[in-house]
């Protein structure tokens, strides 16, 4: 299940972030408990709790005492902004570097993007 380079708790946190960005988890919605996560992925609950801690530190989740963890009202906005900031560095720059190595001209990439976006753009 977890064979990515990042630690398991990081992957749990990333999974929750993805759910928030894609809308699977709504703002103010309750998140499954660390124990449910632990049982589901068969991992130590302390590991799952670390993932949750990461998200509370970032303000993505907040705790309602005695009830559980909830998605912050500003979570989606924050995450979208972070991803937009990282988009060029992590996606575009990498693609450009790969294109250069294998000899794809920039214009071809632009053309492709225009094709993909054609419907919406015009």
């Amino acid at each position: 299940m977890f064979d990515d380079r990042s630690p398991i708790y990081q992957q749990i946190a990333d999974g929750i972030k993805n759910d928030i960005v894609s809308g699977v988890l709504g703002e103010e919605e309750q998140v499954m408990s660390t124990n449910q996560y632990a049982a589901f992925y068969r991992i130590n609950p302390a590991t799952a709790a670390k993932g949750f801690q990461l998200l509370t530190d970032e303000g993505i989740l907040y705790k309602k005492r005695g009830i559980g963890m909830f998605v912050s009202p500003q979570a989606k906005g924050m995450l979208l902004e972070q991803r937009r900031e990282r988009f060029f560095e992590e996606v575009v720059d990498k693609m450009a570097a790969e294109a250069k190595v294998i000899g794809i001209p920039v214009m071809d990439i632009v053309k492709r993007l225009e094709q993909l976006n054609g419907g919406e753009e015009q």
């Binding site: 990515d4 398991i8 049982a39």
Partner: protein
Amino acid sequence: MTITIEVSRLGLLYDKSAKALDDVTFRMEGGKIYGLLGRNGSGKTSLLSILASFQQQTSGEVRIDGEAPYENERIVNQVCFIQENGYLSESFKVRDVIKLASDCWPNWDADYADRLLNQFELPAKKQIMALSRGMKSALGVTIGLASRAPITIFDEAYLGMDAPSRYYFYEELLKDYMEHPRTIILSTHLIEEVSDLFEEVLILDKGKLVLQEEADKLRSRGSAIIGPADAVDQFAEGLTILSEQKLGGTKSITVFGELGAEREKRATADGLTIGPVSLQDLFVHLTRKGIGSDERKHG
């Protein structure tokens, strides 16, 4: 209620020259799942049997809930030690063993024991000697779980079980641990299967404690680097190299220690690939012959 284990400068001699345990010091906070890893003959079972008061150390101290456990009635029934072949008598029936266990452990949950026996399809009337290896293991696991002892130790206890039974055990262990937090110590060779259950890991080698660390942290400290040999060598400067392999101009190494964001960035720029190292691989590299023990010791 959870119980702390403190071990200080523990030593155990087989005879005058052979040390089963050599100056072992650690502390186990109560309520966590620990993985105790070591090669055959590294001293795991010696250590665990001292914790369980099955034998006494030659030197050093053990404190369980603040007291020495050996021949200490208050502590003895707080520790449940399950070994692969730990039965008093092969002529006992399954239900005799269960009855005995229920008298031993104050927190014994009879309903839970029944459920587990059922799940493992263990016939109550069968004699221990008539059980297969896998069934004996399942009986041990049943006793360990149903004991609900504040310190429960499984010493290779589930090796004889087939994969579906082992997976059932892992799930049950995790579930019951979350409902009834207690200290669980798992000593195992099947590291890959259980490593995600560990909160902390202790590695023993030749009777010495190599390290004690949070499982997540330990995992994050191992990296596999692969790329052009020169670049790999340059990258590895100042890092502890656990293993290296060469294939033509390509080199692959396993390193131990934080890389840091700066180094990781440089690696990508230099055309190196950084990959994870599993706990099992780290364990293999850390306990392989010929690696200096001083280099490896970190807090």
